[in-house]
């Protein structure tokens, strides 16, 4: 009986000591216990304030993403020269400029301008008359076109030289100023681009400009076919 009583007292004492130690060492115990439970304490006690702090300090590292400044070479600017056949007025040398913006690897938009001076028509030569003044013989054409790089490829010149090429088609609309008249003009054609390096390119182009006119009396659709070579650079 005494032994049982002693055992009971000993357990009670240990329990009291344990709970006393727990109260005294509350700060450390809280750190070890990751449970955010409310504890009723005196307002001046620092224990409550410590408990309200987050148990685990989140270490969230923001992922740094850089957007590097890299040169974009999507604009192509250049000049061209060639021969244009102005229907009824013969073939004449033409010069012009082209500005293209490459939207994707397949498509580009292009603005082009070309000018020449037309000669005499067959009618004028035959009957020895002048239908147009000198200023009216000035031929100017501009076009806004959409281009499609249909066949990208390579050309091999000799054993060690390789150049990138592309066969492209263009279709667009513009205007032709000729003979004192301004006509809405559809244009279409194809070209071959050969890149000498990553910035410089040479072109071989064939374009047809279609518009209707009644310059020589009868109203008709004329086809002015232009063949040219050009040099452009990307920037």
């Amino acid at each position: 009986m005494e032994n049982r009583l002693s055992l009971f007292l000993l357990i009670s004492l240990l329990a009291m000591l344990n709970s006393g130690c727990a109260l005294l060492g509350n700060h450390k115990a809280t750190e070890a216990t990751p449970v955010n439970r409310p504890i009723v304490t005196g307002s001046s006690s620092p224990i409550g304030a410590d408990v309200m702090q987050p148990v685990i300090e989140p270490k969230v590292e923001r992922r740094t993403i850089k957007t590097p400044k890299i040169d974009s070479d999507n604009i192509e600017l250049g000049a061209y020269g060639g021969i244009i056949n102005i229907e009824d007025f013969g073939s004449h040398p033409v010069i012009g400029a082209r500005l293209a913006y490459h939207i994707s690897e397949s498509f580009f938009v292009e603005g082009s301008y070309g000018q020449t001076s037309a000669g005499q028509s067959n009618v004028e030569t035959l009957f020895n008359i002048q239908l147009l003044t000198e200023s009216q013989r000035k031929y100017r054409n501009y076009a806004l076109s959409l281009g499609w790089n249909a066949l990208p490829g390579e050309v091999f010149i000799g054993e060690n030289r390789t150049y990138n090429t592309a066969l492209y088609f263009v279709l667009g609309a513009g205007a032709t100023h000729f003979g004192g008249d301004k006509r809405f003009t559809m244009n279409g054609g194809f070209g071959y681009r050969l890149l000498l390096n990553n910035q410089l390119a040479t072109h071989l182009d064939v374009r047809d400009s279609l518009y209707d006119t009644s310059l020589l009396g009868e109203r008709k659709v004329v086809n002015n076919i232009e063949t040219s070579v050009g040099l452009t650079f990307f920037f």
Binding site: N74, A79, E105, E154, N164, A175, G180, R183
Partner: protein, 241 residues
């Protein structure tokens, strides 16, 4: 000759301006093409953890130089997980629908009809906010008896900028110059002020391409009491930067 000198000056300036960016490959490998396009053949492969220099970009393709000096074009999709020299991720995201709604500049080429005459239109716009943009347009209309040059500036409200299709409305004004076309008799060209309201829709195609169509109701401010109204519609392609 002058044009050639300008071209040469631009070429030199551009060549000097390029600064390579060094990055580390984090994909298993990247394929170097001979040109900026899927159709150009792959001639070299650079593997993970190798360093490359990015020299320039063209239509979603990057000209890179690997450590042995080979230069080739790599598609943007293969460079999306590369790291910069200090270990941070770099962003090489190409044009997407998401980027369209955040883009600042747009250009467009359109054709249409201006009161019966064939119309050519070129415009550039600058986004003031996600919905509002300011647009400068130059129109050239060619009829049988006259040609019209019309320059306008407008404010456009895009209703759903983040959607693939979005209607828009615009209001603006400008100056119209009418040039009569008569071969024998030179009639006088004259200039008039124009105000307009317009509605249209844009559809994002892919990459940087957008299809556009719009209708304008123009009011011409004439000195006489005669009310002059011109209807205009046009359609074409736009692209964003």
């Amino acid at each position: 000759m002058r044009l050639l000198l300008i071209l040469l000056a631009c070429y030199t300036t551009v060549s000097l301006a390029s600064q390579p960016t060094e990055v580390t490959i984090k994909d298993a490998f990247i394929e170097m093409h001979t040109g900026p396009g899927t159709g150009y053949p792959v001639f070299f492969v650079v593997s993970r953890d190798d360093k490359i220099n990015i020299l320039k970009e063209r239509t979603g393709w990057y000209l890179v130089k690997e450590h042995q000096g080979r230069e080739g074009w790599v598609n943007e999709s293969q460079l999306s997980r590369t790291l910069s020299s200090d270990g941070t991720a770099i962003q090489l995201q190409g044009p997407t629908l998401d980027k369209l709604s955040r883009s600042r500049y747009q250009g467009s080429l359109m054709v249409g009809n201006f009161d019966g005459a064939s119309l050519l239109s070129i415009s550039g716009s600058y986004a003031l906010t996600e919905h509002l943009s300011s647009q400068l347009t130059i129109n050239h209309a060619l009829g049988d008896f006259s040609s019209v040059d019309l320059a306008t500036i407008d404010i456009t409200h895009t209703f759903s900028p983040s959607k693939r299709f979005s209607p828009y409305a615009s209001i603006g004004s400008g100056v119209m110059r009418i040039n009569p076309i008569t071969i024998q008799d030179q009639a006088q060209a004259h200039t008039q002020a124009v105000s307009f309201i317009g509605v249209g829709g844009r559809f994002y195609l892919n990459s940087r391409l957008i299809a556009r169509a719009e209708y304008h109701y123009n009011h011409v401010h004439t000195s006489s009491d005669k009310k002059e109204e011109i209807t205009e519609w046009k359609t074409g392609l736009a692209f964003f930067f």
